[in-house]
Symmetry: C2
Subunit: 340 residues, 2 copies
DNA sequence: CTGTTAGCGCTTTCAA
DNA sequence: TTGAAAGCGCTAACAG
């Protein structure tokens, strides 16, 4: 009996023996077929098929020191915002040797810390993390990792490495300004469990309305529950109890906006005549709703795309084009806030 | 200069030297702290902190032969159905040494084949794949892999290994029967780009209605575009042109049902009085809509949960409780199909 | 173009 | 309870 068990599957050595060549030749052929003569190439190919050989990426990664993993840490797996970015990242690495490893931080900083440490253990080629609110300890770890680190969704003052996103403060300002332009004055705010970006948007709402003497805390309805359409209905219902004269509502996201619309419909409140509604993210359904719902479009797919681009650029040794990439946003005005 | 570069980061050997112990002792402590004396344990812990040591999972996997990866192949990353299952899988492996590696097959069998082969290269601890319609070649590879293979979402005749899901034929039958019970007779069907499960549901719709002489192909509106709420609106609009006397619609999924509702609202068609609507999956928004929308609840989270459970059970060497697990479904009747 | 040797970071085996 | 040696599957380095 051998000393170690092994995986039981064909290894590169098995293929080499079968094809009567050196292991390194098989290795070379796998990575760049042009570096091997035609004769040996066909012989090796036959052996690979005969033995059903599949290369082991972790052995390759260990030997070469070249990690083939790109780590992605996001706060939720069932939120379309993150799913769209993930899709872009997956699309971006397709055809490359890289694999995407996803971590779900569940909006929990401790879990984020744990996962950052765990992921760095993989010696990934790069790491993509959501937001700019990592703990000091994690920021230290990430800074020292010596790999491209991309913070996405929000651009902050001082990125760890690369930062791709938008200013949620500016976006929130644009939302409030739009409502004011449309002559809404009694503007409420609905939000479910918040992440740091949502909090900055809410804070901006407050600081925009206060100087105009339009801020009324009874119009702000918050909950710790996670966001959902039903949650949006409940928040809207409560707002209508608290402050029935509210004439427009800023929703922390599109799910809540849709719920608010349904609640208005069920109470016979006309949107936008009696109630203006604006969401955030511009999910696909917003344009299909009746009446169609105004929202702020954030290009989540592009964020993922640019993240992968920046990583590959950096990995090629090129100097980073930009450390901060502001992808901006677009307020898509629709019926739910269009008056007159 | 050394011959190989190394990762530049602290290794287990560095920690061992720093703590003045053998590398194996550090290794043991990491895996089971009780196997090391208190004195050495604290010394090693200090060294780990001092050097900022993070273990390398791929080296561990290579040496132990124990893969720490569970592969998951799904057809879409931005569909809540799959996102919910992914979340369950992530939740299930939390606190275990396993990592989840996700592959996006994009509803493409060739891409699925490629990914199955690629993923098996990782020598994963187990593999979870969506559906039961893999290619022959892939089924062969999976059968020979010698690891737990879980097919999810649908239960078929002859699972490769473990199969967790529901009968989409039975679910479709229940939908049609429900509409018939509610006295709908001119029943249409709306569907966007289909996967095999959707196709089986559509086929069942046909085979249920034909013998009753209620099948009318002009009421079936299909498109190759990917599913969306806007797509649901467009399909509904076309159905109303093709066959204005249609009195109910089976929607291939909830997005399309929501779009159909919005289209009815915009045309002043009353739901359910003039048009019954039923969706599939029972996304959260269905209960929040106004009127609330009937749908078939599929427990996507539970599918992921059971998949992980089965894998761990199998990995522990226990005989599988069941090879086929039917999680069933539940038709949730709401206002959109409730008449009288 | 091809092969030999050593070693990636960790764990198994065997021994003390 | 601890350690030394060997090896997991692959590739970098240095030959030839």
């Amino acid at each position: 009996m051998g000393k170690r068990k092994g995986s039981g599957r064909a290894t590169i050595t098995d293929v080499a023996e079968h094809a009567q060549v050196g292991a390194i030749t098989v290795s070379r052929m796998l990575r760049d077929p042009t570096k091997v003569s035609d004769k040996l190439r066909t012989r090796i190919e036959q052996s690979i098929n005969a033995l059903n050989y599949i290369p082991d990426p972790k052995a390759r990664a260990l030997a070469s020191g070249q990690a083939d993993i790109i780590g992605v840490l996001i706060p939720s797996l069932s939120n379309i915002v993150f799913a769209d970015t993930l899709r872009a990242i997956h699309d971006g690495v397709k055809g490359t040797p890289y694999q995407v490893l996803i971590g779900n931080t569940r909006y929990d900083t401790q879990e984020e810390d744990r996962l950052i440490s765990l992921f760095l253990g993989h010696r990934p080629a790069a790491l993509i993390v959501a937001g700019i609110d990592q703990s000091e300890k994690s920021i230290q770890l990430l800074s020292d990792a010596g790999i491209p680190i991309v913070q996405i969704y929000e651009i902050g003052e001082d990125p760890i490495d690369i930062s791709i996103g938008l200013s949620h403060i500016e976006a929130s300002q644009a939302m409030i300004e739009h409502l004011l332009e449309q002559d809404f004055r009694k503007i409420g705010y609905l939000a479910a469990r918040m992440d740091p970006r949502m909090e900055r948007r809410l804070e901006t709402y407050r600081s925009k309305l206060k100087p105009l003497d339009l801020y009324d805390p009874t119009r702000v309805i918050l909950t710790d529950k996670s966001s959902s359409v039903n949650c949006g209905r409940a928040l809207m219902r409560q707002l209508l109890e608290n402050a029935p004269d509210t004439d427009a509502v800023v929703c922390a996201n599109d799910d809540i906006a849709l719920g608010a619309l349904f609640e208005c419909q069920s109470q016979g409140i006309s949107v936008p005549d009696q109630m203006g509604l604006i969401g955030f993210n511009d999910f696909e359904m917003m344009s299909a709703a009746y009446p169609s719902l105004t929202s702020v479009r954030t290009n989540r797919y592009k964020i993922g795309e640019l993240a992968v681009d920046s990583i590959f650029q950096r990995l090629k040794g090129e100097a980073p084009t930009q450390k901060k990439i502001d992808i901006g946003f677009e307020l898509i005005q629709r019926d739910s806030t269009t008056r007159g």
